[in-house]
């Protein structure tokens, strides 16, 4: 039954033009990044590494496909939750606003199965977005700029990852990014269960992510105690995969916290939806 429901849900998602906004936006942004870095990448890089060049003579191809992919992921993964929320925030509330929820609830399907199907469909959409971003960035990056060692620039240090280790790190980063975005998927699904209007859960998800990201980015001691509790703090843990040595404990801790959030949001969603008095 869930399988049939899932097919219906996927059909609903992919029949809406809104669902393709994320894919088109990612494709355009990846193209813009690749073009800009192809034309002006060396100038940009010279500016970034000028501090390093005061101490060292740097040799080798720094502006390579892996660096381009890393820059794109670093910049776009921050925006990805907004694209995810655009679709997943509408999964339950969309039914309510269009009046189809009552019809759906009258079918011989448990409410838990309805949510499960919607959750899997939403997660599948999220996974496709991550694969689309990673595939486009890595594929075109390696094709245009060729592979090479990855120089990861952070605020206070640089890490150089050998070319042979880059590919698996990118796959792992995409897997961690998927878990991170699943937090957004379940969060927006939870908000969606509370609303009969599509816009509210989408906008609320976006607002929460923006606020949390800003609070997490601000380097103010006042917020240091709050930061570990914000899910956005853990959503950027994929970056730790590009450090040497890899801090496995930090990554594992953040993944566990994200799973805890997913579990928490889902529990509330199931509870709310099962108990909900469906009037529309």
């Amino acid at each position: 039954m869930v399988y049939r429901l899932l097919k219906v849900e996927l059909n609903k998602i992919f029949s809406r033009p809104r669902s393709y906004i994320g894919f088109v936006a990612i494709a355009i942004l990846v193209f813009i990044f690749q073009l800009a870095l192809y034309v002006d990448g060396k100038t940009y890089l010279t500016f970034l590494i000028q501090q390093l060049e005061t101490n060292f003579s740097i040799q080798g191809n720094i502006l390579n496909g892996y660096l381009i992919t890393y820059i794109i992921l670093q910049t776009l993964i921050v925006q990805m939750p907004l694209m995810v929320a655009l679709v997943t925030g509408d999964l339950l509330s969309g039914e309510s606003s269009s009046g189809t929820m009552r019809l759906l609830a009258t079918k011989p399907i448990s409410r838990a199965n309805i949510i499960t199907a919607k959750l899997i469909a939403g997660s599948f959409y999220t996974l496709l977005l991550v694969i689309w971003l990673g595939g486009l960035a890595l594929g075109f990056g390696l094709w245009i700029f060729k592979p090479g060692d990855l120089m990861v620039l952070s605020t206070d240090h640089i890490s150089i990852i050998p070319s042979s280790e880059c590919l698996w790190r990118f796959f792992a980063a995409c897997a961690v990014a998927f878990i991170s975005l699943s937090v957004v998927t379940t969060f927006s699904l939870m908000l969606s269960a509370f609303s009969d209007n599509s816009i509210v859960p989408i906008v609320t998800t976006m607002a929460v992510i923006i606020i949390f990201t800003i609070v997490g980015t601000l380097d103010v001691p006042l917020f240091n105690n709050i930061k570990p509790f914000l899910f956005t703090t853990h959503m950027i843990v994929w970056q730790k995969l590009f450090q040497d040595p890899i801090s496995t404990s930090t990554i594992t801790k953040s993944i566990c916290i994200m799973f805890a959030y997913i579990f928490g949001f889902l529990s509330v969603t199931y509870y709310r939806f099962i108990k909900k008095d469906i009037l529309s």
């Binding site: 101490n55 060292f56 740097i58 240090h157 640089i158 990201t213 380097d219 240091n224 040497d244």
Partner: protein, 228 residues
């Protein structure tokens, strides 16, 4: 009059500057003679960086040298090298007219009795401001160098020799460099996870670069194409 001339001659010959400058030149000449035996060489190179703000694995590279100043390091990936390559020191010392050398003492370095030779460039515009070399006068090899340069501040190099010491080619070099604090704007590198507390942890202003040479092939010819 004869007495006066003899007195002047005695003072001149026995003055520290005269006798020590001679000795310094002789010692440097011995180093130059050793290195002059080398027309070209290739060697395998392993580079290990111990710099607080750089995290990278050891790099394997191949180094090529051909007289007078052709020097190339080739590696497959990204490589961070000290700005001062070891052949620059030799090239600088070979041009004896470009500097004044003074022997300023002797000291035991790594269990070897060494002469300390201080080198001051004659040109005001040279990158090197002051060079200090600890030289094993018996073997004619530099065991330690301390360079003060305009572009890179202070730089210390420890030289370790093996079977190629007769060519003055080291088996290992340890560069100790001064490093400015590395800091990039957060927004520029989109490093959302970092905080000032993280960056406070590592503030070592000195870094070490260890280069180990192996498989030297000396005077067997090196193709000019390699240096292009």
């Amino acid at each position: 009059m004869i007495r006066f001339i003899l007195l002047v001659l005695f003072i001149t010959l026995n003055s520290p500057n005269y006798s020590e400058a001679q000795t310094a030149s002789q010692i440097i000449n011995k180093v130059n003679t050793n290195f002059n035996k080398v027309n070209d060489y290739t060697a395998d190179m392993s580079i290990h960086l111990d710099v607080s703000f750089v995290k990278m694995k050891d790099i394997m590279a191949k180094v090529y040298f051909k007289k007078p100043k052709k020097f190339k390091v080739k590696a497959e990936g990204i490589m961070l090298l000290p700005k001062q390559n070891p052949n620059n020191i030799q090239a600088m010392l070979e041009d004896t007219s470009s500097y004044s050398a003074i022997k300023t003492g002797t000291v035991i370095t790594n269990g070897v009795n060494t002469s300390i030779i201080t080198v001051i460039p004659n040109s005001d515009t040279a990158d090197l401001i002051l060079g200090k070399f600890w030289i094993d006068a018996n073997k004619g090899v530099i065991l330690k160098s301390h360079l003060t340069t305009r572009s890179n501040g202070n730089l210390e190099i420890e030289h370790f020799y093996g079977v190629n010491s007769n060519y003055a080619l080291p088996d290992k070099l340890i560069f100790t460099i001064e490093t400015a604090k590395f800091k990039l704007p957060k927004a520029l590198v989109v490093d959302l996870g970092s905080s000032t507390e993280d960056s406070k942890k590592e503030d070592n202003k000195k870094g070490k670069i260890t280069i180990v040479f192996s498989n030297y092939i000396v005077n067997k010819g090196v193709d000019d194409k390699i240096f292009k």
